[in-house]
């Protein structure tokens, strides 16, 4: 034992790290701050370490070349013992990290922890959030599959909208005019060297300031932050009612971090790795790419915005959003920290959280894309509509499939959901209304008058007229029946 002690003192005499480290570990924290609310920052740091370790292990096998990346991911998934688990840990670690960083930020905002003297801690935190999202996006590119390819395509088209320099920016981003090997090398450099390097520096400074300035005290209504008095008040609080970080608060951090790592591992085992989906080949058009969950809200926003607002939103909203986040601690450096006295902050946080949740849900479940295979594949129109049909009506059903109506309109629960389901369309529209709708379109439907021959339209409409429940007759035009008399068609 004394031998170990000798080695330690020999090293510490030269390194001079023991004292400052012990000081840091024992730095006082306010008693009430040793709370479960304060564990998200350390959890984010733990996840960063997990990502670094799993990332290094992945980099041992991953080949960052356009020709080999996809194969090396499949090698990891299918050939290497536990390779799939490693990929799953890194992928789920990434999702958890984005989520935990966002929760950490929401908690800091809610507790007013960005106020004096911690403004700059917040500023660095905003940059760390942006870098986390940057890691998430570049990581999605590392998974060089169809989602990555088309995700890059969307990214490039967003960048191309910048006035004047858009084209050059795209060229710089992709390393050439197209998505190719140079693009992957570029994103590999960003994902493995540039952003992680910056992240480590920023994280070090972020944690340094937390240690030196002290952790934010529990916000109490009426305990107002003033530049002139805050430092003395905080010092008094920690000496009167404080406890050392180790062991006072650290065990909660440790337990929560361990729980998060366990949760990542459980997700990795249960749900497995992300992709890779199909090969990143633009000639393969049978694909429905979607972004990972942290960008689904953006996908939803862009789907809902009218085209004229897309460019302003894409170019102005992020600038305003980041400026607002960066400016927040300087605008509100003093004043109340307690959420009981900050109704606007609560409203803002609630609005942002609800919008994020709703848009993510919409992005996940809204069937924006037509079902591009429904015209030729899947179950056919139910036999009950066909067995008693006339030759013309049956031919109309073939037109319905061959002209790809079913890609947007479902029958019997199969088909696209861009347009209404047509199972009982005949009860809603008369023959003439159906002909007009097919020829001229309307609502969100294109006009097919120029794409269908008169025979095709007639056959199609005669088929559509049969689409009604057995006990509910098709809609009929009463005026027409009166005009043509009882013998009318």
């Amino acid at each position: 034992m004394s031998r170990l002690k000798q080695i330690y003192s020999w090293l510490d005499h030269r390194l001079q790290l023991g004292k400052p480290l012990i000081e840091m570990a024992e730095h006082p924290i306010p008693n009430r701050t040793a709370s479960w609310w304060y564990v998200f920052g350390s959890a984010a740091f733990t996840l960063l370490l997990l990502q670094i370790v799993t990332g290094i292990l992945l980099a041992l096998v991953y080949v960052p070349s356009a020709g080999e990346a996809w194969n090396s991911l499949n090698f990891l998934n299918h050939q290497l013992t536990l390779g799939w688990f490693l990929r799953a840990m890194h992928g789920w670690g990434s999702n958890f990290m984005v989520a935990v960083v966002l929760i950490h930020m929401a908690q800091v905002f809610l507790f007013g922890a960005y106020k004096y003297p911690r403004e700059f801690t917040w500023t660095l935190g905003v940059f760390l959030l942006l870098m986390t999202l940057g890691m998430a996006f570049t990581g999605q590119v590392m998974r060089f599959d169809q989602d990555a390819y088309w995700g890059l395509g969307i990214g490039a088209s967003i960048v191309s909208r910048v006035p004047w320099v858009g084209g050059s920016l795209v060229h710089m981003m992709l390393g050439g005019p197209i998505i190719a090997g140079a693009t992957l090398s570029r994103f590999f450099t960003l994902h493995v060297f540039v952003i992680p390097g910056l992240m480590l520096v920023f994280t070090f400074l972020h944690v340094w300031m937390v240690l030196k300035l002290g952790i934010n005290e529990w916000p109490m209504p009426g305990r107002v932050v003033r530049r002139s008095t805050y430092m003395a008040e905080y010092h008094e609080l920690t000496t009167r009612d404080g406890l050392p970080f180790v062991p006072g608060g650290v065990w909660k951090d440790a337990v929560f971090s361990a729980a998060i790592i366990a949760a990542v591992a459980v997700c990795a085992v249960v749900f497995g790795p992300f992709g890779p989906s199909g090969q990143p080949d633009p000639t393969i058009i049978q694909t429905v790419p979607k972004p990972d969950f942290f960008f689904l809200w953006l996908y939803a926003v862009l789907s809902y915005l009218p085209p004229s607002l897309e460019t302003p939103f894409l170019l102005i909203a992020p600038v305003l959003g980041i400026a607002a986040l960066l400016g927040l601690p300087f605008y509100a450096a003093e004043g109340e920290k307690s959420w009981h006295r900050r109704p606007i902050a609560i409203l803002v946080l609630t609005t942002v959280a609800v919008s994020f949740g709703v848009l993510t849900h919409l992005g996940t479940y809204t069937p924006w894309s037509p079902h591009m295979d429904a015209w030729s594949g899947g179950p056919s129109i139910p036999a009950r509509f066909l067995h008693t049909a006339s030759p013309l009506e049956r031919e109309g059903a073939v037109v319905f499939q061959a002209k790809q109506c079913r890609n947007c309109h479902s029958i019997a629960g199969y088909g696209g959901q861009r347009g209404p389901a047509l199972d009982d369309i005949a009860t809603r529209m008369t023959k003439d209304q159906l002909i007009r709708q097919v020829l001229q379109g309307g609502g969100n439907m294109p006009a097919y008058g120029k794409n269908l021959s008169p025979s095709e339209v007639t056959a199609l409409v005669s088929f559509l007229e049969t689409l009604h429940p057995a006990n509910e007759p098709a809609a009929a035009d009463a005026a027409q029946a009166a005009a043509t008399g009882p013998s009318g068609h």
Binding site: G83, H387, E395, P454
Partner: protein, 242 residues
């Protein structure tokens, strides 16, 4: 005490490592193949054919492929050509890459082979010779009309089976008429060549004449939604026979 601890630790470690090396490498889940590498009949048929020709080659709006007579009528080359190039003028699209579709020749072959395997019957023998897929004979419209009146009208006079509707005739090819006359639609309960002529098997000449008659009923401007009203003074052919 210490020794016991380290031994048990070592044991736990080796068990864990042993388990780890036997964990699945996800071999059960195959990498996503390129779409043009898929040659599974079920997958190809389910993605390209089933919506029109029915899930099991039956009960779809287009002709039933799960029909041993039809499978006998068409040879491999014809089936391959129809899938690859489609049938111009009808709703059958071209699926072959060479004709602008998505399927390679190997995939079209896989479809043909799969249909033969599932739906053809090598033991199918007929009492009289089946009319061929295509004919070299010339059709006689007048004889076709007579045949239609005597053999077909009993079923086809009702509005539900109106095959003389010029709009219908504008959408189907002569070959399609010929094929369905011979093969029938057993999935819908419609007879084929052996029984369609009132219990009598029809011949190549009968089929050719009937098709010639039906084709003669085509009009210059098909697809009128209200033919009775649009052609004032001149009634459409299919209302004539009522």
């Amino acid at each position: 005490m210490h020794r016991a601890h380290s031994v048990s630790l070592l044991a736990v470690c080796s068990i864990l490592i042993g388990c780890a090396s036997h964990l699945p490498t996800m071999n059960s889940v195959q990498p996503v193949p390129r779409p043009d590498q898929i040659v599974s009949f079920d997958r190809l048929y389910g993605e390209n054919c089933s919506a029109c020709h029915g899930a099991n080659g039956q009960d779809g709006p287009a002709i039933d492929l799960n029909n041993a007579v039809l499978q006998q009528l068409l040879d491999d080359a014809t089936l391959h050509r129809v899938i690859r190039d489609g049938v111009p003028g009808t709703q059958m699209p071209a699926f072959g890459e060479s004709a602008g579709g998505m399927l390679t020749d190997a995939q079209v072959d896989a479809l043909v082979a799969g249909m033969r395997r599932r739906w053809a019957s090598a033991s199918l023998v007929h009492p009289v010779q089946m009319p061929p897929y295509t004919s070299t004979l010339t059709g006689n419209t007048a004889r076709g009309q007579q045949l239609y009146q005597s053999d077909c009208r009993s079923c086809h006079s009702g509005r539900r089976q109106q095959v003389t509707d010029p709009t219908y005739l504008a959408l189907v090819s002569e070959q399609a008429l010929r094929t369905i006359l011979i093969a029938g639609r057993p999935d819908l309960g419609h007879p084929g060549w052996l029984t369609v002529g009132g219990g009598r098997a029809i011949t190549d000449q009968d089929v050719t004449d009937l098709v010639a008659y039906l084709v003669s009923l085509r009009v210059a401007t098909p697809g009128q939604p209200y033919p009775e009203q649009s052609e004032t003074g001149k009634t459409a052919p299919h209302t004539q026979e009522k």
